[in-house]
Symmetry: C2
Subunit: 343 residues, 2 copies
DNA sequence: TTGAAAGCGCTAACAG
DNA sequence: CTGTTAGCGCTTTCAA
């Protein structure tokens, strides 16, 4: 008598395909991975069986046998910043073209968290890792090092040796902003920087501003420099704070566009004319900033490009050992309408 | 003579740990997966060896042996929409808490692409899949079905049977907007909807508007309804187009906030007073919309919450077979300042 | 061109 | 509580 119990839907395996196609499993494997070395007829037969049985290869088994997962991990500080979203979009697009899949983990700007997440990515066997910036915990570096997994960083300011970096010069970009402001006659320049602790990009931008101030023989007023989280409300609060200082800034440089927009909103609420009474600058060039009224003067950060280039470099490295070279891309100053002559 | 060639850095395996700790590999495995059933002393010894040797478990081997990868895949239309970013952020946060890792793939609103990506996720052995909306290709449904992988959808409007959905009623939300506009006296209402083809959310919103118009016995002017990609420039163009129609709308409902902002920017450029001459509404409640001047009347979509709830449901299902129930969350109308009495 | 067979590193019975 | 061992499904020599 036939066993009537419904069989557990066993996964279709390479053996099922081999059997149904009357070939060895090695031939099935070859057909799927190196079709060119299998005779056309055999291949067609196998492929049709694959189709018919709805065979889905086991990535785990493939990874175990071949030491490759075709996955790449990304460690990003937050998803709530369009600038990272743009980079990841470019990154994912290129990875996807080459049939890699992206594993994303969010660190919330927490280095311990980052190390933990990195460990997790490594356990998953990612073929490469994408990092933001060049400042990471020693433990992360150690992990990366002994796992000798392919790594790339984006957004960093230096042609780093430790980790190949595809970034741009945050510091120089910040200097350009100051140069521009100074050329407009501004002397009392304030800054709402991002939180610089454990964030090399924010720190480079801040240092760039300070350095440029010195270059122009302008005073650096610590009371005019504050650090703030990247959010509209924080930008608004920061402006309120700054305008209550003894020294009144005529221009405010913001660590990113979100802060700058917050400043713009608050200035509007306080009836402070921009750029009439106050010049404001951002950093990132988010899509919306060009539509604002007045349009925001900012730095055009090649975010999508960095992501895409990083992916291409990783793919090249993975498929041909091509060493990844650090590279700094262009970050242009976009002079729009939130900056004007000193009042 | 000693072999001086540098040995290939062989990966540290569970056997190395077992040997160094003088135990069997099973005990190492237990220590890592079910510490409570291992004697304290043995466990400590093993853990210290793990630390010392910098052991990283092989996810591939674990997955192959246990049929679980502790990864979850997400298929999203695009990364360039903050609303999805917010959902993914909530989703990732909850997954991460439960030690799952997120695999992201972008479909670009392309169903064939979606099926291909889904297939790839399945090959990677994801324990669950997150989908946006309820409209997917037949092939995707087939794939999901026979892989009997855990699935959840977010953003959809129905308590679906085929796929558990944690969403909100897009149609009803759209109706609320019309009700609001009608209560302000508007009769000639136009709409800039998203592209509705293969997008149930966009279509539900559009249909909701049309249905509500009928409910109020108002004419549905097809010439006042256009579909457009979600971008500021597209929103601007759409407004230009609408104001050149014979019938002039006194209110324009936008398929999302990005379109609405485009309309606001263009209205400003054309010196059309909002809401004086034209009322405008959005959909999503992006963080910036409350800061705009005038602040945008929109629908508060629980994007982050949907993502977080979806993750929790998946985790519960994976760890206890708890069936996932479809659920519709609240999406409130946020009346702000871009809507006013008909001129 | 193809097949047989040896692992890849781990989990989970099973036996002790 | 712990060790032994049989796979998990695939890739990749090695032979044929």
């Amino acid at each position: 008598m036939v066993d009537e119990t419904k069989p557990v839907e066993r996964q279709v395996t390479i053996e099922d395909i081999a059997e149904a196609a009357n070939v060895g499993i090695a031939t099935v494997s070859r057909t799927l991975n190196h079709p060119e070395i299998v005779r056309q007829k055999t291949r067609d037969k196998i492929l049709s069986v694959v189709q018919e049985l709805g065979y889905i290869r086991s990535g785990a088994a493939r990874a175990l046998a071949s030491k490759q997962t075709f996955t790449v991990g990304a460690l990003i500080p937050t998803m709530n910043n369009a600038i990272f979203a743009a980079s990841i979009a470019g990154f994912e697009r290129e990875l996807s073209k080459a049939n890699y899949t992206l594993l994303i983990t969010v660190t919330n700007y927490d280095r311990d968290q980052e190390t933990i997440q990195l460990h997790k990515l490594l356990e998953h066997g990612v073929d490469a890792v994408l990092l933001i910036g060049l400042e990471h915990s020693k433990r992360s570096y150690t992990l990366l090092n002994k796992s000798n997994c392919c790594v790339v960083s984006i957004f960093g300011s230096r042609r780093s040796q430790k980790i190949p970096n595809i970034g741009f010069d945050n510091k120089k970009a910040a200097e350009k902003i100051v140069d521009h402001l100074v050329s407009l006659g501004h002397q009392r320049i304030g800054m709402i920087a991002g939180i610089t602790r454990h964030n090399d990009r924010a720190r480079d931008r801040k240092n760039g501003v300070i350095k440029a101030l010195q270059k122009h023989n302008l005073a650096y007023h610590p009371s005019l420099f504050i650090e703030s989280q990247y959010s509209h409300p924080h930008g608004r609060e920061a402006l309120k704070h700054l305008i209550h200082q003894n020294i009144k800034p005529t221009a405010i440089i913001c660590g990113n566009d979100v802060l700058a927009m917050g400043v713009l909103f608050e200035a509007d609420a306080q009836r402070i004319k921009v750029p009439g009474q106050l010049s404001v600058t951002g950093f990132d060039n988010l899509p919306i900033t060009g539509h604002l009224k007045p349009a925001l003067t900012t730095i055009d950060v090649p975010s999508e490009q960095m992501g895409a280039e990083a992916a291409k470099a990783i793919i090249a490295n993975l498929s041909s050992e091509a060493k990844i070279k650090s590279r700094l891309l262009e970050a242009k100053l976009l002079i729009r309408n939130t900056t004007g002559p000193r009042r």
